[in-house]
């Protein structure tokens, strides 16, 4: 019985850890939204900034992946 509760709470914890992805989602959405907004204002400057766009995307996405990692750690390691 007690083991069941521990196991259940483990899954709850893993699920809660994935909530960190909300932040990454907001961040990635913000980056692409701002990029499009700026690119519509000055389309000629947009191609030079795609590198920065993907760097920003990758960096904020990394935090979502850390949330995924925490969830995997809770499930399989702890």
């Amino acid at each position: 019985m007690e083991g069941d509760i521990t196991l259940g709470l483990k899954y709850v914890g893993a699920g809660l850890a994935t909530l960190g992805m909300i932040g990454a989602a907001i961040g990635v959405g913000n980056i692409f939204g701002s990029f499009l907004e700026a690119a519509m204002r000055n389309p000629s400057a947009a191609p030079q900034q795609t590198g920065n766009l993907f760097i920003g995307m990758a960096l904020s996405e990394a935090l979502g992946i850390l949330a995924f990692l925490v969830s995997i750690l809770i499930l399989f390691v702890v």
Partner: protein
């Protein structure tokens, strides 16, 4: 309970199998399917660029154009991020980009094995990148390399907080570099397998479930297209972040 809940195991595709056993001095060096697919990725890249380099005509044919576009693409990426003197790392970034791209694309073939969905592969690549950044940074700049951790122009009390943050962010780089590629490929391939499994099980569960099966199948097709984009994008992101980190080794202090 529900007959359609029993889908094929989505994790099974990542299983490493030994193709033939090999043990040297107590270390398991067996040739696995992961090794085979990595060699295949290297072989594809070598074949493409071997062809491109030996053909060497002024007016390229299609395959030669692919190689030349790839060359220009990576060269422009390095020039844009790390400047002209970043081009001394061109062979490294080029190899890295095309190895990851080929491995990701081979992974998209049904029943193929995705080497980049194993954290040991991406971890080794990320450690290689960060090792080169540290060794080259110290070799080129000496102690000046450590100014990376203390950007100029902040008032001194700020440094008490800034330096630990910069050190942690530097140490997190290989971790995030490895995990980004690994997690993207892993999650993507699990998702593809899940939707494909749903489609098959729902179609088998009875005529009532056929619309759901069609929906699931359509979703699987759409996700497949998305995964091709992700396969390219993650190779690109890995290469461009390598350029960003190499830029720190080339010019520490102005970022």
């Amino acid at each position: 309970m529900f007959p359609f809940m029993a889908v094929a195991d989505p994790i099974e595709q990542f299983e490493v199998k030994k193709l033939f056993e090999l043990t040297i001095a107590g270390t398991d060096l067996s040739f696995t399917n992961a090794s085979a697919y990595m060699m295949l990725a290297v072989g594809v890249v070598v074949a493409l660029f071997g062809y491109t380099a030996t053909r060497n005509t002024l007016v390229p044919d299609r395959l030669q154009s692919v190689g030349e576009i790839g060359y220009e693409f990576v060269a422009n990426m390095i020039r844009g991020v790390a400047g002209e003197d970043g081009l001394r790392f061109f062979p490294f970034v080029f190899t890295l980009f095309f190895f990851i791209f080929a491995a990701n694309m081979i992974g998209m073939v049904p029943y193929a094995f995705t080497t980049t969905s194993h954290v040991i592969v991406t971890g080794a690549l990320a450690l290689l990148v960060i090792g080169i950044v540290i060794v080259y940074g110290i070799f080129k700049n000496g102690g000046q390399f450590f100014r990376l951790f203390a950007p100029a122009g902040a008032p001194w009390p700020i440094y008490l907080i800034l330096v630990p943050i910069e050190i942690i962010s530097f140490l997190a780089r290989p971790l995030t570099l490895a995990l980004r590629l690994f997690a993207n490929m892993l999650a993507g391939h699990i998702m593809l397998k899940l939707f494909a499994g749903f489609a098959v099980s729902l179609a088998g569960a009875g005529i009532v479930y056929l619309p759901l099966a069609a929906l699931s199948f359509g979703m699987g097709v759409a996700l497949n297209a998305l995964e091709f984009l992700v396969a390219f994008l993650q190779a690109y992101v890995f290469a461009i972040l390598t350029c960003v980190y190499l830029n720190d080794a080339l010019h520490p202090g102005h970022h």
